[in-house]
Symmetry: C2
Subunit: 120 residues, 2 copies
DNA sequence: ACAATAACCGATAAAAGATTCGGTATCCAT
DNA sequence: ATGGATACCGAATCTTTTATCGGTTATTGT
């Protein structure tokens, strides 16, 4: 019998950050947009590990949080562009810092993960 | 009928970063340790929103990733300290940057989330 | 007319993550 | 010897997030 449901604490800057860009794909999507892949299909092709559906859902969330804006034009091919808002742009330094960290420690992390797999 | 299982791509620095410190509590725990709350019970008291069990599990993961080290002393009260490794310390700048971002945008984020709740 | 591309959405399944509960063991103070 | 504090762990279960599938609508090129 469960009684407690822990509610999210938004008095912590860390938690707020993760709330906004902490999903599995959000940072990657922001990175893609920043690199010029502004349309859903483009983003999808730039990161085919995610499904198009996921990208759409994440874009909708980022839109609702005010991280991206949406611009639609009625031309062919049906053109919808997502662009970073100022809020979205303010995340970029964090993004590049995490990316840099991950790249720098890539070898070590992979080694550790392999160790864990082997024990398994 | 499901066929595909997307495997994780660890060729992206962002994904590597999130793999290591992307959980709901990991960054908070690193922050707590950095602030001198080095023992599980201390960490728990410093962030009672999480349960002790969660903290234990997250610590075990951080330990296996080489982000923290564990030191036990057989004194009373049974003393176990978790300390940041060099890898763990290298995460701190990212941590403080996210915290700073979240604090700065706290008002805006809360406003947005409230809007979403109201529509709900 | 028909295939191809783009954007998007609903329902549902699966996987991941977090939480609760109930344990063990040790040590100290009363 | 009893109760409280510490550090753990296993298992069940809940919650959240992500993934898959199967659609709709619209437009272009052939």
């Amino acid at each position: 019998m469960y009684t407690k449901k822990i509610e999210e604490d938004l008095d912590c800057g860390l938690r707020i950050g993760f709330k906004i860009f902490g999903g599995k794909w959000k940072m990657c999507i922001l990175d893609a947009i920043n690199n010029g892949f502004t349309r859903p299909a483009e983003i999808y092709r730039s990161m085919p590990d995610a499904t198009l559906r996921v990208i759409e859902m994440q874009l909708a969330e980022l839109l609702s949080f005010g991280v991206v804006d949406k611009y639609s034009e009625d031309v062919y091919p049906k053109k919808t562009e997502y662009r970073l808002t100022n809020l979205g742009k303010s995340i970029l330094p964090i993004l590049s810092q995490i990316d840099k960290w991950g790249t720098e420690h890539s070898a070590f992390v992979k080694e550790k993960l392999q160790e864990l797999d082997e024990v398994q």
